[in-house]
């Protein structure tokens, strides 16, 4: 079965999730990965969206972080202050998903500005929940398509901390959570080195060369001593994912206009 690089990324992320995880889910690739996990090997995984929806089981993927579908299928929905105080800061979330416009070798992320903060070349949306998701969740997975624009030697702005300057930087700041433990791209899976915390390629997706990864990374990327080949998506994984995406497309098309179908294909925050 053929599959896209994006499908490989989503499937690789889904596999890393377990039944016991309580996930703080962002829209787009994280949402697809979390729901794919829920519909395959992790039926009891708990999905939480920052809009306040706890233990939600959407039948179709949401387009925004606060779609009605999320609330209608949730165990319950709490206020946003409660979400950030009792649930995120309260240490109840085992796993957070983040992405960004830029990432560096220590998995710090920038979603704030390209260029100087006071006179930005590009003003990005900003941090949203990321600064505290990055430090309060038990661990962090990052999903990003890999390329030189995003995987940079030096961030213009640290929106959310990964491993900071590396080593024990998190501990030195009094942060007790693990931080980014996996970066899942459309080319490979990286994990921080146990000591230096520098991102290291541990698994390469089928058909991807080391050169391609090097070319698409803005710093001299390191490879682990033993690098695995990511198992290709199984037929079942692809079938469930495509079915979910097709169901999503049909549901949103059913609601209204052609524009809505276009929006469904784009995905929403």
């Amino acid at each position: 079965m053929t599959y896209t690089a994006n499908e490989m990324m989503t499937v690789a992320a889904a596999r890393a999730l377990t039944n016991d995880d309580v996930c703080f889910v962002g829209i787009g690739a994280p949402s697809a990965a979390c729901n794919l996990a829920r519909l395959t090997h992790a039926p009891d995984i708990t999905l939480i969206y920052e809009s306040g929806t706890i233990a939600t089981r959407p039948n179709v993927l949401p387009l925004s972080i606060g779609d009605g579908e999320l609330c209608e299928t949730a165990l319950t929905t709490v206020s946003v202050p409660e979400m950030f105080r009792y649930w995120l800061q309260g240490g109840r979330i085992t796993l957070g998903f983040l992405g960004g416009a830029q990432i560096d070798r220590f998995a710090n992320l920038n979603t704030t500005v390209v260029g100087p903060y006071d006179s930005p070349r590009v003003r990005l949306p900003g941090g949203g929940g990321a600064p505290e998701i990055a430090t309060h969740c038990g661990q962090i997975f990052i999903i990003m398509a890999q390329g030189r624009r995003g995987f940079v030697d030096r961030l213009d702005f640290v929106t959310s901390m990964g491993h900071g300057e590396g080593g024990d930087h998190r501990e030195r700041l009094g942060v007790r959570t693990r931080g980014p433990t996996k970066v899942i791209t459309d080319l490979c899976v990286m994990e921080p080195d146990p000591v230096t915390k520098e991102l290291t390629v541990v698994s390469i997706h089928p058909g991807v060369t080391r050169d391609k990864i090097v070319e698409n990374t803005g710093w001299p990327i390191r490879f682990a001593g033993t690098v695995a080949e990511t198992p290709a998506p199984t037929e079942r994984e692809l079938a469930v994912l495509r079915d979910l995406q097709e169901r999503t497309r049909r549901a949103h098309a059913g609601e209204g206009t052609a524009g809505e179908q276009a929006a469904a294909r784009t995905g929403g925050k």
Binding site: S64, P81, L88, Q89, G126, E132, M161, G259, T266, G268
Partner: protein, 282 residues
Amino acid sequence: MARVLPLAAAIGETVRDGDTVAMEGFTHLIPHAAGHEIIRQGRRHLTLVRMTPDLIYDQLIGMGCADRLVFSWGGNPGVGSLHRLRDAVENGWPNRLAIEEHSHAAMANAYEAGAANLPFAVFRGYKGADLPKVNPGIRSVTCPYTGEVLATVPAIRPDVTVIHALRADRAGNVLLEGIVGVQKEAVLAARRAVVTVEEIVDDFGPRSPNAVILPAWTVTAIAVVPGGAHPSYAHGYYKRDNAFYQAWDGIARERDTFLAWMKEHVLAKGPDAFAVHARKAA
């Protein structure tokens, strides 16, 4: 005590030039009709506060209503940039826009502190992040028991908060349900509060004993604007118009198409233009 007024009067009596205005709604229940009314009334020099500046703030900023924006995530959800916000920040059009930027956690805590009549909020936040370097409002206190240093932000206390809710009863009490966001906190933190609603009912009837209700004496004015959250949505009334969010990217990308759209759909219209969105779902 809440008075039921036409939207123009509700906004006219509560929102003044130079005010700090919070228009809240977390994806759900965003008060678009009220935003349009503020634009029509030509309010100027506003400080706009909102966790997720959405199309509604893109419109207010593009029409020159705002001097300052306090926010934590400024994008068109799932689509991309807010072009009018970017044009103001990057190029100063139609005027320079000062920004005060926070994280979601900081703003949620700041609204909560405002509702609780505290001057500031304490939270564990911003560790290892750059925002405290560019926002002097982010400070710290030391725990008097453990010595731990925690982040602080000033409480948000808007001059006026504007929200859209599902319905009010005849006494002027207001009910929200579903994704309730920070609206209760934003209303209780504010000096004045304006609420647009889908409808006014005789009585809320059977409901959860713990329903999210704002008593009439916490609200300044209520305006009935069916469909008033569009292109956002109202739980149980109508769905989010994702197509419009998508279309906005093209409308707002250029100044002239933006201005033409605002002229046709906002300046030349009134609150009753929103009713079609409520009816479509019914």
